[in-house]
Amino acid sequence: MPNATYIMLIVLLPLLSFLIMGLFGRTYLKNTAGIISTCLSFISTCLAFYTAYGYFFEYGKINGVYQKLIPFNYLWLAFSEGLSINMGILLDPITAMMLVVVTLISLMVHIYSLGYLKGEERFPTYYAFLGLFTFSMLGLVVASNIFQIYIFWELVGVSSFLLIGYYYEKPSAVAACKKAFIVTRFADLGFLIGILVLSFYAGTLDFNTLIQRLTSPESNELKSALAASFLGISALTWGMILVFVGGAGKSAMFPLHIWLPDAMEGPTPVSALIHAATMVVAGVFLVARLFPIFAISAPDALEIVAYVGAISALFAAIIACTQTDIKRVLAFSTMSQIGFMMFALGVSKYGGEEGLGYTASMFHLFTHALFKALLFLGAGAVIHFVHSNNMKDMGGLRKQLPITHFTFLIACLAISGVPPFAGFFSKEEILLAAFQHNQTIYWMALITSGLTAFYMFRLYFSIFWNKSYHPNHQDEHGHHGEGGFVMMMPLVLLSVGACLAGFIPFGKFVSSDGTALVSEFHLQFSIAPVALGLTGIFTALFLYKTENDKPDKMASSLRALYQIAYHKFYIDEIYLFITQKILFNCIGKPAAWFDKNVVDGLVNATGNTTQVLSEKIKKIQSGKVQEYAVYFLVGVFGLAMVFIYMWK
């Protein structure tokens, strides 16, 4: 059996780091904050690897099926006989995988930040927030209970809010953290209602029981959840859709993605941790956690997941081709890749060969975490060097930043799906799953993967080739090279991961029903995607390798399309229009009027009445004991009269 103490420690060590840094960091640990946090993070990572090893190779598999183990469960609040909130640990393949991913990326970011944020005034605070985030994310992935996941879900939101707003002197950062918080809160409302719907019908909050009750065809809970319907859709499907809305908010799926690009205002390592590898995949994780219910009992909801994922993937890829801020390109690329994971889940079925999409999605989640964190950290090194986020200020950096250049190239190849890098294997599986189950989505995905290769290499060539680098005046003095060992080590380690992770026989470990899935490799099937990818790369090479006016010409010839994509399809503007023009004028203003005249009027009236009453009472409270005695006696006889003669 797994050792529950170790798993608890994985989760609690980051919390310890948060507490130490939060309580003592600013006064006592100004210089050592980073080291202490990093050490704690390192221990946590080791334990996570140990746990994952133990689970996958020692005790997790019984009769060829990976079990859902609950090594620890604590009854926290009991509402009624059946319904209770537990705090527990659920260990299954995806939890084990996520433990590794979260702790590993978190460790890399801890190390990287030692260099990146060196000399910052609020260094300990930063590490405190990182600790809080890691703790909440780990709490989320081990949750054994849907309410527990919700609690940590919100905690993740809060710590993300804090980290995006880390540079709180910058108005744009403040606006961005508010936006992220509000948009995800809005989605979380859906999640909460979804939880209530599910728990109402299933009578439990526990994942294992929930899944068991809502998937076995003869259970009464499932029958009643399917029988109740609203607008022609069964209550269960509604519940699952609402839960997915929560997941879509966190995972920045269309149309709730608008917060993600703005969230890039946070420090770059934070973007690598939260907005590339961990928090944004929480939505995918949630869908995967509830996957049996989606696949068996609510296929309509799963269909929605598939299309939302596919649309997000394509949509974000188109926008990414036009952005000039390198972090925003990466943000849209993240959104696009998460779209891949989502639709892979969406096209999957439960169990056996049909469950290929599930495995592929989790595989892609894993590889993507590695290469996307690498891309962000590389971008961080570039930004650190150039002091700008804008592609136009860069170019020719391959000489100044050789290690960054090399690792960035590996990551670009990985994300573009060029064999034999990690992204190739996972993306191939996703495309295969889509091809088998839904042709429309397959074609959308194919186009997207071509676009991915194009925009990634557009980014790559614009940063490292194009024109030669001429540093600005003021930068010449403060030249600091690539940022030293602490910043380069994570890059190198992650690039090794991005090269090799693809060779893990993932289907053996993670599959929809726990049995091993042998993924076959179809050579002829891979030809189309790889060819498209290479086309994308060569187009980018042709357009951006050297400084020329071809891109501008192209942009002006496709002016309308380019403008629309550049402005992110005006989604932000549509939201603004809806909120400011329609909501404020049609609902806000009448509500304000109602509030001012009716509610305030009532409140004032209540206040006035209270004042008058209080005055009256004050008079009764005269201070004379004999009067008190009279009231007392009146009270006694009043009660006696009422209860003897009237109210019997």
């Binding site: 009854l75 926290w76 609040l77 009991a78 209270t610 004042q611 009453l613 209080s614 009472i617 004050k618 009764i620 409270q621 201070g623 004991v625 009067e627 008190y628 005695a629 009231y631 007392f632 006696l633 009146v634 009270g635 006694v636 009660l639 006696a640 209860f643 003897i644 109210w647 019997k648």
Partner: protein, 466 residues
Amino acid sequence: MNEFFTLMKPELLIMAILFLLLFIKISKGLANDKLLQFIQVLLLINFVAGFFLNAEGKLFDSMYQTNAMIVLQKNILNLGMFFISLLFTDWFRKCEHLSEFFMLMLSALLGMFYMMSSGNLLMFYLSLELATIPVAAMSNFNLDKKVSSEAAIKMILSSAFSSGILLFGISLLYGATGTLSFTEMPALLTSSPLQILAFVCLFTAFAFKMSVVPFHFWTADVYEGSPVVVTSFLSVISKGAIAFVFVSTLFKVFQPLHDIWYNMIMVLSVMTMLIGNLFALRQQNIKRFLAFSSIAQVGFILVGMSSNSTQGTASIIYFICIYIFSNLAAFGVADLISFFTGKENVDDYKGLYQTNPLLSWVLALSLFSLAGIPPTAGFFGKLFLLSAGATTGNYIFIGIAAVNMIISLYYYLRIIRAVFMDKNETPVEKISINPYTKIGLYICSAGIVLIGLLSWVYDYIESVVN
């Protein structure tokens, strides 16, 4: 003989402390500092000892009875006493007649213990007097202040009046049933008018002690005039003890009259919550404010009482346990500030956070808990009270209680706003808190946070009650 010692252990311990104090006083006395430390240690030992060697049974021909629930209730009060001895250290050190003060306080506590264990109306009456008269003397302890004497006189007069009514009720009840024993009483109760009149008289004695509207008038003057220690003793320990007795008497002895007392409690509870809130709303003086808000809290206890179930009993014990932590912490902070700076107005609290962050946080935490804001323990306390009350299905009643909870938010938050947000050019200066009070404040704060979150506290109480 052995049984005598185990059953009456809580009372015997208090008596032992009383005599010890008396001997110290007679022999040559101790300096206040030393004496206070000694008392604090004794009270701590007393609290810890309450967990061991407990037994259930009856003594003196069922005059005295005890069981696990009563022992638990006594322990909760012991804990409250210990907190009082910690939190008001500064006041005690300055007190001229410290040992007398504690003797009076412990006598009152002894009276409460006997009251909780009484198995007979006569015993109940005697112990009620023992629990009341020393408190009147304590109210007079600010010897140089006229209001203090006024408070004492008013308390003794009002209590005497209430006792008169109580005795009248007891004699009527004896006339109607022919017994005073709690065990024999229920079988003989038939809601005849005479019995109802007798019951109402008895009921009002409880209502008077708990300051339920309209029997609450004495509260305002006594709370204001007495030293803060006495006010907090009255509003926490005394009220808690009476609530415990009230619940068990109603649920066990007067069960046959349930239909009558249910409606009575409902009416009085609504009145108490409303009038208590109206009172508290206008107070500018923080001590008066805390005292009046405690009247409103009693209304909520009555809501739990209306449930007529073990769940109600458990929720009341739980609530009072939390209430001891929250209210004593608030009184402790208010007393510290008034003791050192003489400032007692809400306006004086503006900007307190700038100079005294610890006090501000403790005050905020305790007020949050009193207002019932999650995740503090007060929220869970009120939640359980209201959900116990809701089991009777009278949702309008529960709705009124919930509305009153919201009204009370306003005045609790008003103080928190003053402390944290309002600017003040001359805030209360930095107060150096002595270590005993600091420990007391820390324990109270920890309690306020933890009692609600640790589910086993409530589970434990519930298991004891069952």
